[in-house]
């Protein structure tokens, strides 16, 4: 629902070759109403005499009255449009400030600009989104005659120019840009402003030397902006998709881009602080013989298991940078420790801190974007009806293809009809009971299938572990390695098939509104993914990590990392296969066999949940596989292009209405709450409670992973007394529950204060609305009295000379 036309200014490949149909809805737009205001008098009005004018005016108001009667019969209060007004009254009506804002009255716009520039000058603040309100106290000009008008305009313009000159250059540019004048006018104003100040313009040719510097900086700045804007990823592709499919589908691709940025950040931080140091100073490992088959790339075993990818590679020592790489050993490190130029890099500490800081920053960014999203989509008066909003704001001007335009019209019609029927209200009684039964059935089917799926995965995982133990005793073969991919395959199958079942089930249900249907579908899918991930986490952290020897593992962290790597990869493969074959085949099926004329629709909710699932896996695996974000980045890049091509070939825009901003809020909050929170909880649980394996990894000799941080704190206390207070701070704040209680109390108070402020604002708004309504009544009263007086003077003996009292 974006209010912007996408002028894709490259030659467009597909041109619609149909003739323009005459659009008669806008043809009467240029029929002037004959209401004079300054320069907009029609020719006819000039010729007629006063009585003639009255006649014409009454004719026109007759016409309008008939139109009004057709469309506004029920409205009683429409005094100001229906009566036969005299010319004077009409002139006064048309020049009322509230009505003349919208017209192309330059005077009004310039005076508004004036006011704003004065404000700017006084407060040196940026221009806010000040609405052009009609405050009668400020604008007392009556627009009566042409000559006065021109004079008025000139003085106003001069005043504006003076105001503009006293502003800073940045403010001036911003103000001029945001004024709704035509470009020709703005150019004139700008010339006037700049003509008095020679050489002030940054881009003029005669420049003293310091302006040269400014000019160079300006050029550099614009150049940078240009580069930045051209670097914005996938800009052209996104515009094209938005134009064809609308903002709903676009939000899915924007979500991919957001996730990509998150993963790039994760990758950079991890790579810089963790992977790079370890890569430069690799630890000594006994070289193990592995046959290099291509399968290692998929299973993560073989030569990959002793590589930078997984946890097991990292040493538990401090790297001293003066060492030569082949001298670095596990233990105390080489060289003399008293060398002051040597830099010691403690790998376990770096591991702990890097992961911790990454999660912390990601958490902050997520919460911030979620709150911003909420702020955008939540409005104070949400409970009121939104028909006006729907009519004024729902046209998506970005859409340019004829089919999509037609689809949008159908969409809007459906929504309007639904809203109207909602307002009419009333449900049938008899349908209720059977509807409830259907709902119950649907819910039981979905919950049951989710439960059985989770149970199945649990049992299958146990079975696979047993098989793996058996295989480990025998010799390693390709089949055994391939069996490692079985569990991920089964899980991905479940992830793909069950949402289809949910769709089927919800198709037979009857919902009050499509938005409820969407929420229910999202909830069911979410439940499925959460239960699957829960079962898997229980397996990995609860069973395997607790008793690694029972499962035959020396290095359970590497194993879990490999599992997550496999899951991510297999998920991607299945998605790719489904996109290429599934959607294509479904399209053929639905068009060939089911004989539907329309192509299938892109299921946004389901695809977004799959993205969130993938991102959860990445976050879970970050502790065990520091390079997992790189895999996710590649996956997202490929996914974007695949989904885009599939969309363009197989699908079409959805008929269902899609509230873009509310859905984006929902997706970001889903990313934050179940997904990120779950990952954080698992990682924290791992760090705090699970014993690291003793054979590999940076934490191999410690009882718990976070002990590395504790040890470092102890060392710090003994070696460097200046930083000992850090330890004290840590002891007081993090380990003391009282502090957390206080913090929670403060947050609750802040929330309470905000709700009270919101409440107060609501009350103020309703009071102001009442006040405006009363002033409207005053206005009506004055106009009718004016008319009555005029009539009395013109027709003193006519029965209609009775003054019309004001009506409610």
């Amino acid at each position: 629902m974006a209010y912007s036309v996408d002028f894709n200014l490259r030659p467009i490949m597909e041109l619609e070759l149909e003739s323009l149909r005459g659009d008669d809805t806008a043809q009467d737009s240029m029929k002037g109403t004959g209401l004079e205001s300054g320069s907009r008098e029609t020719l006819e009005m000039e010729v007629l005499t006063t009585e003639g004018r009255d006649r014409l005016a009454s004719q026109m108001s007759d016409v309008r009255e008939r139109a009004d009667e057709r469309s506004e019969e029920s409205i009683q209060t429409n005094l100001l449009v229906r009566k036969r007004w005299s010319t004077t009254t009409l002139r006064v009506l048309s020049s009322m400030p509230s009505r003349s804002i919208g017209q192309q009255s330059r005077l009004e716009i310039i005076s508004q600009c004036n006011i704003r520039s004065t404000q700017l000058r006084r407060y040196h603040r940026q221009t806010q989104d000040v609405s052009l309100s009609s405050r009668p106290s400020i604008r007392g000009y009556g627009i009566e005659a042409d000559s006065e008008d021109v004079c008025e305009e000139e003085t106003k313009r001069q005043e504006l120019v003076n105001n503009l000159q006293s502003l800073s250059a940045g403010d001036r540019v911003r103000l001029l840009r945001a004024t709704p004048l035509s470009l020709a006018e703005k150019t004139k104003l700008r010339k006037l402003v700049f003509s008095d100040k020679v050489g002030q313009s940054l881009l003029s040719s005669q420049v003293p030397c310091c302006s040269l510097l400014k000019r160079a900086l300006c050029h550099i700045w614009f150049g940078c902006l240009f580069i930045l804007s051209s670097l914005q990823l996938w800009q052209v592709a996104l515009k094209r998709l938005g134009g064809r499919f609308g903002t709903g589908v676009l939000s899915y691709f924007l979500f991919i881009r957001t996730l990509l940025l998150f993963n790039v950040f994760l990758f950079l931080i991890n790579g810089l602080f963790l992977v790079l140091p370890q890569a430069i100073y690799p630890p000594l490992h006994t070289p193990s013989s592995h046959r290099v088959t291509g399968l290692e790339l998929f299973t993560g075993t073989g030569y990959l298991s002793n590589s930078l990818m997984f946890y097991g590679y990292y040493t538990n020592s401090t790297i001293n940078t003066s060492c030569r790489p082949d001298e670095a050993t596990a233990g105390t490190g080489c060289g003399t420790t008293s060398d002051p130029h040597m830099m010691a890099y403690n790998i376990p500490l770096a591991y702990c801190f890097t992961i911790g800081i990454t999660f912390f920053i990601t958490g902050i960014v997520l919460v911030y974007s979620m709150s911003k999203s909420f702020g955008r989509s939540f409005r104070v008066f949400k409970s009121q009806g939104n028909m006006a909003i729907k009519v004024f704001c729902s046209w998506d001007f970005k859409v340019s293809k004829k089919m999509s335009v037609r689809m949008q019209s159908e969409n809007i019609t459906t929504q309007l009809k639904e809203l109207l029927s909602e307002v009419k209200g009333g449900e049938e009684e008899k349908g209720r009971l059977s509807g409830m039964a259907v709902h119950l059935l649907a819910w039981s089917i979905s919950l049951g299938s989710t439960f059985f799926c989770a149970l199945g995965i649990h049992c299958f995982a146990k079975y696979m572990h047993l098989r793996r133990l058996e295989d480990a005793e025998g010799e390693v073969s390709v089949l055994h390695e391939a069996r490692l991919l079985a569990l991920p395959g089964v899980v991905s199958c479940g992830n793909l098939l069950l949402p289809g079942l949910f769709n089927l089930v919800s198709w037979m249900e009857n919902f009050n509104s499509p938005i409820v249907r969407l929420y229910v579908s999202i909830f069911r899918n979410l439940l499925l993914k959460v239960s699957i991930l829960g079962v898997l986490c229980y397996h990995w952290l609860g069973k395997i990590a607790a008793e690694p020897e029972q499962h035959g593992l020396q290095c359970w962290e590497s194993f879990v990392g490999q599992e997550l790597y496999r899951f991510l990869l297999v998920d991607f493969i299945f998605t790719a296969l489904y996109t290429v074959f599934g959607e294509f085949i479904w399209k053929r099926f639905s068009q060939g066999v089911l004989r539907r004329r329309r192509k299938p629709v892109f299921d946004i909710a389901r695809n977004v949940l799959e993205l969130i699932y993938g991102q959860t896996l990445t976050w879970l695996g970050l502790l065990f596989t520091p390079l997992l974000p790189a895999v996710q980045i590649l996956k997202l890049l490929l996914l974007f292009h695949m989904k885009k091509s599939s969309l363009l070939v197989n699908c079409q825009a959805s008929r269902k209405p899609w509230r873009a901003s509310q859905m984006s809020t929902l997706f970001i909050s889903l990313l934050c709450f179940p997904s990120f929170l779950g990952a954080i909880v698992s990682v924290t649980y791992t760090i705090l409670t699970i014993k690291p394996s003793s054979g590999c990894g940076p934490f191999r000799n410690l009882p718990f992973m976070f002990h590395s941080g504790k040890q470092w704190a102890q060392e710090l206390k003994s070696t460097n007394h200046k930083l000992a207070w850090l330890n004290w701070v840590h002891h007081c704040l993090v380990e003391n529950p009282l502090f957390l209680f206080l913090l929670a109390g403060v947050f609750l108070m802040v929330i309470y204060i905000h709700t009270q402020v919101l409440d107060g604002q609501r009350k103020t708004i309703s009071l102001l609305q009442k006040q405006i309504e009363n002033e409207g009544k005053d206005k009506k009263f004055l106009i009718t009295s004016l008319q009555a007086i005029h009539e009395k003077r013109q027709y003193p003996l006519s029965p209609s000379s009775r003054p019309q009292g004001s009506e409610v």
């Binding site: 200014l9 619609e16 919208g102 028909m387 006006a388």
Partner: protein
């Protein structure tokens, strides 16, 4: 000052960049598209007639295309023809970086079919007809139309004069989060 020269002067370009919400690249592309609209015979014209503008693929299917041309046109003959600067105004108002104020101002003028400065019942009816399309099965019945218009006026007409003026319109718009969105 509309230019039909094949090259846009550097000063002019930077001036346009300062006064509109468009980037340099967008202005150059706009100039190219605009020059394509002018056919060979009328090289000397400074404004493009409305029919040519309406043939742009981005505007062709838009139900508001004629109103858009009329609103942005500064020609004295009120025929909806656009000079290059009007064209830039159009693109600037519709660009992603335009402020809410600009967009709502122009949206109001586009929806004001009879150009009287307010949206009364007739304007609203024409607006809804534009939104719902031409075909018979998508149009609203007269009764539904009446109810819709009365609901709209009830929600947005604060001073109860039977019309929606610019302030009330902007108030309604500011409540909708979907009105100004990027991407």
């Amino acid at each position: 000052m509309g230019t039909t020269a094949s090259q846009l002067g550097k000063d002019l370009l930077s001036e346009y960049q300062e006064l509109t919400f468009l980037t340099k690249q967008e202005i150059l592309l706009a100039h190219k598209r605009y020059s394509e609209l002018l056919s060979k015979e009328d090289r000397n014209l400074t404004s493009v007639p409305m029919e040519k503008v309406l043939s742009l693929p981005e505007l062709k299917s838009n139900p508001f295309r004629k109103r858009i041309c009329h609103v942005f046109s500064t020609s004295d003959m009120k025929d909806g023809s656009l000079t290059f600067e009007d064209f830039l105004d159009l693109l600037s108002a519709f660009s992603d970086s335009a402020t809410l104020e600009i967009k709502s101002h122009y949206a109001f003028r586009i929806f004001d079919f009879d150009d009287d400065g307010t949206l009364d019942g007739g304007d609203l009816e024409k607006l809804v007809n534009c939104l719902t399309g031409k075909t018979e099965d998508t149009r609203l019945t007269p009764e539904e139309m009446r109810q819709l218009i009365s609901n709209i006026l009830e929600e947005s007409d604060i001073d109860k004069d039977g019309t929606v003026n610019l302030s009330e319109f902007q108030h309604v718009i500011s409540r909708s989060p979907d009105f100004v969105r990027d991407g």
